[in-house]
Symmetry: C2
Amino acid sequence: MHHGIGFIQDLAVVMVLAGIVTVLFHRLKQPVVLGYIAAGVIIGPYTPPFQLIHDEQTIQTLGELGVVFLMFSLGLEFSLRKLFRVGATAVVAALSEIVLMLWIGFEMGRAFGWSPMDSLFLGAILAISSTTIIVKALSELGLKREGFAQLVFGILIVEDILGIAMLVLLSGIAQTGQLSAGIAFVTLGKLLLFMTVSLVAGILVVPRALAYVARTGSDEMLLVAVLGFCFGFCLLVVKLDYSIALGAFLIGAIMAESRHLHRIEHLIAPLRDAFSAIFFVTIGLMLNPLVLVDYALPIATITAAVILGKLVSCGLGTFLAGKDGRTAMRVGMTVSQIGEFSFIIASLGLTLKVTSAFLYPVAVSVSALTTLTTPYLIRVADPLSRRVANAMPPTLANVFGLYGQWLRSLRPASGEPTVLGMTWPIVVQIAVNLSLVAAIFLGVSYSAPWTSGFLANWLGEESMRRVVLWSGALVLSMPFLVAVWRKATSLAMLLAEVSVQPATAGRFTGAIRQTIAQLVPVVSMIGVFLLVAALSGAILPPVGLLAAVLVCAALLMAVLWRWCVKIHASMQIAFKETLNEQPDP
Amino acid sequence: MHHGIGFIQDLAVVMVLAGIVTVLFHRLKQPVVLGYIAAGVIIGPYTPPFQLIHDEQTIQTLGELGVVFLMFSLGLEFSLRKLFRVGATAVVAALSEIVLMLWIGFEMGRAFGWSPMDSLFLGAILAISSTTIIVKALSELGLKREGFAQLVFGILIVEDILGIAMLVLLSGIAQTGQLSAGIAFVTLGKLLLFMTVSLVAGILVVPRALAYVARTGSDEMLLVAVLGFCFGFCLLVVKLDYSIALGAFLIGAIMAESRHLHRIEHLIAPLRDAFSAIFFVTIGLMLNPLVLVDYALPIATITAAVILGKLVSCGLGTFLAGKDGRTAMRVGMTVSQIGEFSFIIASLGLTLKVTSAFLYPVAVSVSALTTLTTPYLIRVADPLSRRVANAMPPTLANVFGLYGQWLRSLRPASGEPTVLGMTWPIVVQIAVNLSLVAAIFLGVSYSAPWTSGFLANWLGEESMRRVVLWSGALVLSMPFLVAVWRKATSLAMLLAEVSVQPATAGRFTGAIRQTIAQLVPVVSMIGVFLLVAALSGAILPPVGLLAAVLVCAALLMAVLWRWCVKIHASMQIAFKETLNEQPDP
């Protein structure tokens, strides 16, 4: 019991100081997060008397657990249902904010004479607003239920997704040193594939497994199961070279579909609070106050740029998407800060050793300053928007008003089915099923070095082993291939109906429609085959054997057709059930 | 974000396996704790395929956090109020159990040819029953509210206290290699002093501080404050060379007096569950199944001895303390296992490098076996006691019945004040105040190397620095010295009244009584002075200066008398208020 005293001492120092400083900050009506960072600065090596902890590495490791729990909680608050609901406004506002802030950040960095990589990371650091700080500020001001707050939460959800894409892209750029459009496309495609497959598979498996465990009534077992899924999935994600933050967020989003969401949130909250406190303290640990003095000018400029840039970009995006000026102003002023995501991006740069040492403390200071200003900005947004409206020349106000009217006139009257409205769900289903097929072939190819070695005990020939693996993958993906075929058929029929009108095709209408309806699925299955063959190059059998496999598969598929349809239908039903289930209160 | 993958992998392996195995064990209706241990055995290096984790040290460190949270939770369930209530039966039963099991364990170890230290640790390992397992078994059987269960909880509380004393004594024996009665007396005296002072000071400070933080309504801040106090106090305890388990238990017992006990329990439960899972897994990690085969005979024998020994010792103790045979049987069968305390003691032996490697796996196996039998024993206790009662020859049954009657006849009729009943509270108050005085002088002496060095800037002479430090301690302890004086006076008056009866002392009664009443406090203050002087040898000024200090102090005390009384009274009121406060539901 006497070893590990250093560790206990470190934890004690962190927790005692975090406790004292946050209570102090709370008394001064400042955000608790700033208190943690301040405690970290005091503990850290740059302030007197001296470094107060022995084993910074262990504390950093615990801080990383804080990132896991923070992102996991963010994921729990996210949900596919919510994402479908937030609609176009949130997407437009988030996109315009991120693009503009990336650009502003990059240009500012270049103007300060920083390296292109530092400037790029600065842009990424400025791009994403802080969910934690916004949620706290809004609930402290009692504005959480207002319309603009709902819109802000929608924007934050979109930002989380885009932020994760940015994390992945930044890792790629940092490792290769450049970004070609092709690589970005492939990277984002792989990310999308991975996210789709894990969400679909996860939502099929995880909420059911948790419901089984929850039925025991034991909070302890439910917690261990949740942590098992969380860390197990994070490990898988890390092994696939994605960041642990992505893994924690995704598994959180999967568990958000569980019926026991509220119990899970309750069990995770203390773990998140304890470890995120450590995480924010470790941010303070790395903060050298002297650097802040040296970089006072950039910090002040960047802070101003964050506040103005986010106000303009996000506010304008909201307005352009059709909200009134007052809402746009409130949204813009609410998101005008940076937070936990910026720390994660800044520490990514440090870990990959591509950014300079000063970037991290600069990011933390800008975050601290903008965190301080956020509540005041939110409070001042409403009066300010009124004053701006009054001060505006009537013609300009008229133009704005007309824009809103014009935008609303563009929308189709609700209830009237559009072609897009009918084809969209079918396209999504085809894409999801294709993703699953692709994932199965990729997974089998990825595991080939081991499984092939295992098969070598029975099958001497390399080509035969490939046949076995490739056919296995084909059999596994059969239900999804059948679904793709069926959806493609119905999509083709729909398109044929719409595109071939009797007015132009005359008496050939029926024949042309039928040709299209039969040709499109066949062509698309050939496309699927080419895609699959490209993805599974490592296990693709030689041409002769491949043909034999395909013939056998076609026969098998014909025999098992109804069974495949049934399997797929029951999976689809299970998936939709889980999605539509409301969490227990 | 990419470093620390090994750590995430380890956590993932631990959590995933713990989750799967515990769900399996739960299905098989076996205790969850055994599931954790089994998961640890699978993960560990002794079972195929291989060691599944990279950095055992970090996992062990997290497991130690599990011990902290386990003992802290045990402390939260403990409370002084409950200890006062459980009464003599629990003390007698717990004492007889611990003493007998210590002896049985030691003798068995010697009989197996083990070293005296191994045998001693075996005795200690067998002495304490497992609160965790008993609470779980009783609540699963729906017996938690029965009378005998309340008695069992009382016994467990007393065992916790005695177990902690044993931990301290074992550390001492392990380091010096022997145990003289004198050293044991001093060790236990110091422990008692430390526990009294920390409980009194803690109950005065901690619940008030937590109430202040809780008023913010933020669970996050309350949790950080609780963790700050917990780890801060653990650090203090470890620095004083006590085990971290003692620290966690004591600070838990202090927080048990907080009004916000239930909120704290709620916040700590997930942390306890997560980290105690890791703790139990680390127990399994150290388990070599081959050792179990080699030591099958001792394990079987010890398991039988634990079950029979605890049944007899604790059951007999309960019976001798005046409970009926059925209750005694049920109590004895409920406590017949060993658990978390045994692991802590066994790992103490390993850490101090005084026990052999086989002792730990033996302890774990015995715990596992007795954990498995506990629910069956509890269930069988009632029918068995009935059968024993029926099978008992009537004369024997009569003797037992008479014993119970005789015991009940010994008790004073309630409501009638006895001398003991009146003097006892005064003696306790004197002891507590003396402890505080002693702690102040010890604390100032302990800090002398630093404070004296600091004073050296102004006071060149060593003896003058001693005067300053010693007078400082004296001034600090003045309210408590005044309280000791006043309580001693009233105790003396009471004793004079009782011991000097007019029948024997005749007309001198009044004079003798007054002499006693005035002499006793003076004599006891001289005793206090000698005690304090002995404790504060490091800062005791030379005789001449000491006399001057004492005279000044006497004058100061006369002037500040009323103020001291007021200070002490308000502290006493605050203390009692906190003790009597019921926790919020």
